[in-house]
């Protein structure tokens, strides 16, 4: 796999991460080995790469910039970390354009350039019953949230996932969540599930206060924020925006918040419903 020969005279490899961190710096873009690529369902891929630094530092809802091997496509492709296993990091992504098409064609043994982990993740400090409400390709970061929450005895994770059709992430979330419910477009939506949860009095399961973590399509997140606001439940929402750099230097990734235009990449991607002015 050859690439970017003319762009830069070298691509930092693994040892550069070590050097950067030893010198007190965050690792720059560097080249890592892909260990597994699986197609979960039609045009949804799970890609795993070896990166001890990201593996040991990534927080849920933080993301990594992946770069294609095609020099026409210089810009980063951001993906939420979906799982960490030892020094291996996984992302789950849908093939929606030229970049993801190409990443989907990579195989174990190939390499990929990566920068990360980036952004501010979910705040999981409170002991709570975290309700992870995900839709479509918003699901992957919530799997990682479930994985991290599983390490805390004092918090619980209830996953509520909505899918277009195939429930592609069930295998992964079921590894970690205390409860996991899912629904697809033919059956209804995640707010239906939230209502059921409330009716079954499971919102405050384990005697913990509920906190919603959500990631998914904008209309879904707005509905979830409304739902949470009506009940006075805190909600942290992970946003998406087209990015230039992913690490806060270019101001290309803003969204409108009550505090003005903020950067999704470094002020977010996680914002509270209050910051977004949603659910009023």
């Amino acid at each position: 796999m050859l690439n970017r020969n003319e762009m830069t005279t070298f691509t930092p490899t693994h040892d550069v991460v070590t050097e950067a961190t030893a010198a007190g710096f965050f690792p720059p873009r560097h080249n890592v080995e892909i260990t597994q690529v699986t197609e979960l369902t039609d045009r949804v891929m799970r890609l795993t790469f070896r990166d001890p630094f990201i593996a040991s530092h990534a927080k849920p809802a933080q993301f990594v910039n992946l770069f294609t091997h095609d020099d026409f496509m210089l810009m980063p492709r951001p993906f939420g970390v979906s799982e960490v296993d030892g020094d291996e990091v996984s992302v789950i992504f849908a093939v929606v354009g030229h970049g993801t098409e190409q990443l989907a064609g990579l195989q174990a043994g190939d390499t990929v350039d990566v920068l990360g982990p980036l952004g501010r993740g979910f705040n999981l400090k409170e002991d709570a019953n975290y309700i992870l409400v995900g839709g479509g390709l918003g699901v992957p970061p919530l799997i990682y949230a479930a994985q991290k929450l599983a390490e805390h005895d004092a918090s619980f994770a209830t996953a509520i996932f909505g899918y277009r059709n195939d429930h592609f992430a069930e295998e992964y979330v079921s590894r970690y969540a205390d409860w996991s419910w899912s629904i697809d477009d033919a059956e209804g939506n995640v707010v239906d599930l939230l209502n059921k949860l409330e009716q079954g009095d499971d919102l405050k399961a384990y005697d913990r206060k509920p906190i919603i973590l959500s990631c998914g399509p904008l209309p879904m997140m707005k509905a979830v924020a409304d739902w949470a606001a009506e009940r006075g439940i805190p909600a942290q929402l992970s946003m998406e925006q087209r990015m230039g750099c992913g690490y806060g230097t270019c101001v290309l990734c803003t969204i409108d918040t009550v505090d003005g235009r903020l950067k999704v990449c470094s002020d977010g991607p996680v914002f509270t419903r209050e910051q977004l002015g949603w659910g009023k």
Partner: protein, 323 residues
């Protein structure tokens, strides 16, 4: 050769950016010494973001995001689209304003040991004057007047395309400060030597070029422009030949004026092309979006490339240029 070993020149393909480095080749721009000829380009460098990746005092200069008299919110999102070998941006000069800049950004950069070029944004002459007035007594090393932003409707590029307006602006700004004043030019003109001459004749100490090229992409699923602002500014490797031609032409027309060349630089080799085209120094913009350490790497690669080019290196150190 594998992807793990992508040296393109057969040279040393592993420069350790984190080891202490003594810069071998300096340059001089408008009488001020840079420790190496590589700076960052305005709008692609924010100290709060970059400081985690490398020591910014290692660069020849850092040029900060355009500051306006009051905070500007910029354009709506999406603000960016990709294009072959390029980025298109339509930030529209979002920035927290000059007071914030002077209170927060500049002191931190100076404390970190950076050589700072403060980029000045405006919608009208009064805007520019208000910012320059505040920068006049600041710790900024140089000022850069951005009359070439394609993403704001008033001011910005319109001044840079009109030599009379540019002359008037410079007549107003020039007496306000002794700091070296760089005028940043746009390539979106018929003849770049016209605004270049106007700027120099009215007091510019140096010129920088190029700002971004006007461009756009369309989403073929919706039939609509990708960027909310419709058009944006093209930067990155795709614009390299346009930037080189601009520098070459202005250097031919104005043999003496210091020039900072930029546009599409992502390697020491491309920086070197700008120096051969007649620049005294260069800046790295979009490449830093794709890899935070790009400016430092370019500086290190260039430092090595200049070893075998003593004539060029000597000229730069003396404040002269190749052409």
């Amino acid at each position: 050769m594998s992807a793990n070993n992508q040296s393109a020149q057969g040279g040393d393909n592993h420069i350790n950016l984190y080891e202490p480095h003594v810069w071998k080749h300096h340059t001089k721009v408008a009488g001020l010494e840079w420790k190496n000829p590589v700076g960052t380009a305005s709008g692609t460098f924010q100290y709060a973001a970059v400081r985690w990746f490398y020591d910014v005092s290692q660069l020849g200069a850092v040029c900060t995001k355009g500051a306006s008299p009051v905070p500007w919110e910029g354009n709506p999102s999406p603000r960016t689209a990709e294009s072959p070998a390029a980025n298109i941006n339509a930030v529209g000069l979002q920035n927290p304003g000059i007071d914030h800049y002077l209170a927060e950004d500049l002191p931190k950069l100076k404390a970190a040991g950076a050589f700072v070029i403060s980029n000045v944004a405006g919608h009208c002459d009064d805007d520019y004057a208000a910012v320059v007035e505040k920068l006049a007594d600041s710790d900024a090393d140089m000022l850069e007047i951005n009359v070439s932003c394609p993403n704001v409707s008033a001011g910005g590029m319109s001044v840079g395309t009109d030599p009379v307006a540019l002359a008037n602006l410079m007549d107003r700004l020039r007496p306000m400060t002794d700091k070296p004043m760089i005028v940043k030019l746009t390539p979106n003109v018929t003849d770049i030597t016209v605004p270049a001459r106007a700027a120099v004749e009215h007091g510019a100490d140096a010129l920088s070029m190029i700002n971004t090229l006007k461009g756009m992409r369309i989403n073929i699923r919706t039939g609509k422009p990708i960027i909310a602002n419709v058009t944006g500014g093209v930067s990155g490797p795709a614009v390299l030949p346009v930037g080189l031609a601009a520098v070459y032409r202005v250097r031919t027309a104005l043999p003496e004026i210091p020039i900072i060349g930029l546009g599409g630089i992502d390697s020491g080799e491309k920086a070197l092309e700008y120096l051969y085209a007649g620049a005294n120094a260069v800046e790295v913009g979009a490449a830093a979006l794709f890899d935070p350490v790009a400016p430092l790497r370019v500086a290190r690669e260039l430092d090595d490339l200049l070893d075998s080019r003593p004539e060029l290196a000597a000229k730069l150190a003396a404040g002269q240029t190749w052409r």
